[in-house]
Amino acid sequence: LNPGVREPEIKVLLVEDEPAFAELLQEVLRHDRASCFALTCAESLRDTQRRLREDRFDVVLLDLSLPDQCGLRTYTEAHAGAPAVPIVVLTGSDDETLALQAVRDGAQDYLVKGQFDGRTLSRVIRYAIERKRAAEALRESEEFFRLISENVTDLIAVIDCEGKRLYNSPSYKSILGDPSKLPGTNSFEEIHPEDRPRVERIFRDTIATGVGQRTEYRFRLRDGQVRHVESQGSAIRDENGRPAKIVVVSRDITEQKAAVEALRTALADVKKSHEDLEATQQQLIQSERLQAVSTFAAGVAHEVKNPLQTIILGVDYLAHTLVGGDRTADLVLADMNNAVTRANAIIHGLLEFAASRPRAVVEADLNQIVAQSLHTVDSEMQMHPITLQQDLRGGLPPLRVDIKALKHVFIHLFMNSVRTLAGGGTLSVKTYAQRLTAADGQAALKPRGSLRLGDEVVVAEVEETFSNSAPGKSPPTNGIGAGLTVLKKIIELAGGVIDIRSRPGQGNTITLLFRVQSKQLP
């Protein structure tokens, strides 16, 4: 020790009811060269407790036999008065067992009266103070880490090289139950069987290399619940530098995963709505374009009428002028008349189409439109040997269409079928809903036009079949004829497509598909 440097004064509370021994100790301590002691004396437990309350001491020298208390209780009660102050027990040679008991209960040391010198006393006091300080620091540090590990939501675990659990923080309670029952159990047991081999491999790698890894996996709990966890392992090395334990810090990311999933779904929904909106916008643009075309068509039809009028009147005049004349001229005039009649029919169609715009688009039931259209052509159908087969499925999602225009389409189609089947046959009309798939056996039900894969569609299928007794009468090649362009436009406007297929020698199959807006899906 360097005699030039005096340590700070050590405040000692001496509890001793024998004045002679107290005096002796005072004398001994006063002459100590290493430390400077400031001594205060107390003669009873009550006096001791009062002084401990009123002042701060670095150490207590405590005789266990006092007038108001004796034995181990003297220690216990003195210690309770100031738990942070180290206590050195003073005892007679016959009482060493008691002194040892006090040490076990937290006293720093003991001295047997009459068996120590000044140097020993000084050393015991200083060591007691140091030990207590170190113990306090350790206790504080432990308390600090205990507080952290008890309050973090992260899952902290320590496992040995075999994968057995050594420690699990209280936060494990929500996943694995009471953490105090976990030590010694297999830390891989609750890991989802699909993830377990991978996590075990990472564990072995960490043991082998000493380098931890971050990974995600699932816990499958006893109640069947699955929790997603993200873990980071770190190796703790032994004195030889070999990884001995693994500390695993994990986070329950189940909610986070669910949120990400929900976000992904929401994003997909937004994307789908956006596509729907775009499709609607396209329809709108098309409808505006169509209206411009209508206006134009009306103008053209009107303008064409006058020259057509001249030709009609001219043909009429020539027909009368040539009466009784050239037969060839008669035929030519008849052809011209026919041609003019056809041109006139086209103009008529154009004007009708022009007049059909714009109309309100409303929610409508396809079955109702089909049934009403069939009703309209009923009398016409009755005049021919045609059998009508209907299979209109109930519960079809509603369509957003121009009802009048769509009825026009069906009436036109049915009238055409009646003409085609005039010699006898079966007209089959079916409606149903379905989702478009790429692999659909029926070519007509494959996505095309504005229809995409996976779209929910409402389908109307019109099938014409000649009866066996009236075969051969070929279907009119221009059956739907000039009107088809107009029909196609109306169907497109309703978000649909039309498919016409000829079954040679049997008749035609006409399929109409209408896209159902996604929000109308059940």
Binding site: H302, K305, L313, D316, Y317, L351, A354
Partner: protein
């Protein structure tokens, strides 16, 4: 027998010419053609038609106005007028209802047989 006089008013001269030829060819009618609405009233005053065939849409004047002019003339007040219309759209006819109201109209394109039958129905053969 006196031929009935038909005044044909239409801005298309080819149409008026052919209508005139066809009507006169029957031997029962004498026709006069007018191709602008401004000539309509003077022609009517002078020609004193038994019936007027009047195009409802002409570039310089509406057929309805021409009809009103003709019928406001004391001597022409009871002259029947048949409108020729190129518009077959029902709403168009409805819109023009106040002009056409009470009058017969023939939709273009018309053929001679149709025109003759309407004329005969109106003023007799």
């Amino acid at each position: 027998m006196n031929k009935k006089r038909i005044l044909i008013i239409d801005d298309e001269s080819s149409i008026t010419r052919l209508l005139k030829l066809n009507l006169e060819k029957t031997g029962r009618y004498e026709a006069r053609e007018v191709n602008t609405s401004s000539q309509a009233l003077p022609a009517a005053r002078e020609f004193r038609p038994s019936l007027v065939l009047l195009d409802i849409m002409m570039p310089d004047m509406d057929g309805g106005d021409v009809a009103a002019q003709i019928q406001s003339e004391p001597g022409l007040k009871s002259t029947p007028i048949i409108f020729l219309t190129a518009t077959v759209k029902p709403e168009e006819l409805e819109r023009r209802g106040e002009i056409i109201g009470g009058f017969t109209y023939i939709a273009k394109p018309l053929n001679v047989k149709g025109v003759l039958s309407v004329i005969e129905k109106t003023i007799g053969a």
